[in-house]
Symmetry: C2
Subunit: 376 residues, 2 copies
Amino acid sequence: MPAGHFTSFHPPQRTLMGPGPSDVNPRILEALSRPTIGHLDPLFIGMMDELKSLLRYAFQTENEVTLPISAPGSAGMECCFANLVEPGDKVIVCINGVFGGRMKENVIRCGGQAIIVEDPWGRAVDPSKVEAALKANPDASILAFVHAETSTGALSDAQTLAKLAHDYDCLCIVDTVTSLAGVPLKVDEWQLDAVYSGTQKCLSCIPGLSPVTFNDRALAKVKTRKTMVQSWFLDLNLMLGYWEGEGKRAYHHTAPINPLYGLHEALCILHDEGLENSWERHRTQHNILKAGLEKMGLELSVPEAERLPQLNAIIIPEGINDAAFRSQLLKDYNLEIGAGLGASAGKLWRIGLMGYSANKGNVLYCLSAIEALLNK
Amino acid sequence: MPAGHFTSFHPPQRTLMGPGPSDVNPRILEALSRPTIGHLDPLFIGMMDELKSLLRYAFQTENEVTLPISAPGSAGMECCFANLVEPGDKVIVCINGVFGGRMKENVIRCGGQAIIVEDPWGRAVDPSKVEAALKANPDASILAFVHAETSTGALSDAQTLAKLAHDYDCLCIVDTVTSLAGVPLKVDEWQLDAVYSGTQKCLSCIPGLSPVTFNDRALAKVKTRKTMVQSWFLDLNLMLGYWEGEGKRAYHHTAPINPLYGLHEALCILHDEGLENSWERHRTQHNILKAGLEKMGLELSVPEAERLPQLNAIIIPEGINDAAFRSQLLKDYNLEIGAGLGASAGKLWRIGLMGYSANKGNVLYCLSAIEALLNK
């Protein structure tokens, strides 16, 4: 048993320019501290309805089933796979970074068979390889890919990949954790079937929630499953009784009230700014960052046409100790940038320009801090 | 796409005396709004270590593996079952309310076989029935029961049930969502093997996190599984790389930073008060509430010896329209009390006295409001 007195934790004011969480807008932090009300309170339910409308706007969809899962993006991913994959299902999984690999893990744990299409880390998914895999596996029922690979900073062509999936009679599951609100994402126009995202990237909300959206094609598959969804917590059929129930909501689990206030606020901020303006802002700040980095002789690792503006993977210059450099940035500048993940650990830095963090002040601060430390 | 301007959601100040969420201590609401830092930030990791020590205190355990799952209590439940139950495992499940039923659902979805021991709603689990089931099923490997049934207000004898489980060579999984910090709960002394709880009950934190603790016996079972844990998100083996990794934390998922500030604060408050004092306070406020209700002629439905102080199930007097009455309480008094769940819908009210809500001001306010409406 712990002895002595424990005191409140007072975090420092960091500048968050890693792969997420991004800097949280103070409006959102304030929203989190508003009085907790009940999860079945009519006023809370009204807020939820508004939140769902705002999520539809962010996803550019009219999908009825658009809601935040009460857990982080990894649970949103699992929600899509657990509901759509049945034992024996063949799923084509595109792997061009860490999160494609996690998709494969999910397929296997659902009893599915994963057919892997591999692309180099730091590159987009190659549609021609995907088409070959679809052709070679006519019994595949799902294509899964990551729109914006957080581990490498590469953007894939979700519209083209979704069209291929449908041409070969597959559904698609799309990871938009890092793309939502940062680059164009048009769920309805591109006909993305099951989509999950996160809150701590370009929405600049706190981590812990995972917005998802399912179209009718995806729902039809969920509703005609032969087997029970293996997760009770993530079973869409049960969840809908709470989120979609007209008039009377069936109790499923207790929603995380205050984080949902935060997400509502984040989506109001996005709606006020306008989605296109948000995309444009991410692009503009990326250009400023890129120019500054190149002036210092630093190189981005992803080819220009496949680059995410909101996640910039930079080749660590020779002779620099990765961990020591990032520690120093944190210590001297309260500035967090990201390490490389998996195969790129020690080789790449990842500088996030996500949501509220994508502003000129942050970009110039980050450039100055890196320059100062490199020249130390 | 939503037209017009969306505005911030400003919830009213309710008094929460339902089955949870309970009133959140203002210290915790303030903690939620502190600056977000990275989930791999050394200062965050230090906070997490302290949080785990404080959770051990709350659970009265020295279990190394004691941590908050990044999702609500339902996910904590699923974490225990998904890690401990393998396909074909026989699990004895005690059902004396809604949450025992949910345990059964979990067993089935994990491919296990559920042997049900039923007791009437509103009564404790009967150890003699449990012993009979253990005797009749020598191949059972787990006994699962709810310590404090939130749906009915009945307290079961966790120590006796755990001893029975061990006598018959079973592990026990125990739901302590509503008991933690509200009534005596001694994980080590009672030898509870796998235990989950929630944050929005007697800890008076916001909903959305689920503290769990596993002893060595439970971990041995997790580590010697023949099959993979079916959930990636809830796989304890993966989670431990993040929560328990010495020096270097393996990235699993992005922890919900700010809600964890809130839980840390809630546990500091509990530690300051002292666990025994918290139990005593719940008992004292219950006695005041009970006296007041009985004076009005209202009856508690659970026999005195099996009653939870923190959740009071009251028989709705004849001639009272349940839904209309509770709506009026909310409208006229900003006071939330709980409805009956499942079989007791329309028959019972559930008045919570949990955590910060268990204070004399709330009790007297609640009694006055109910009396005024009953006499209207």
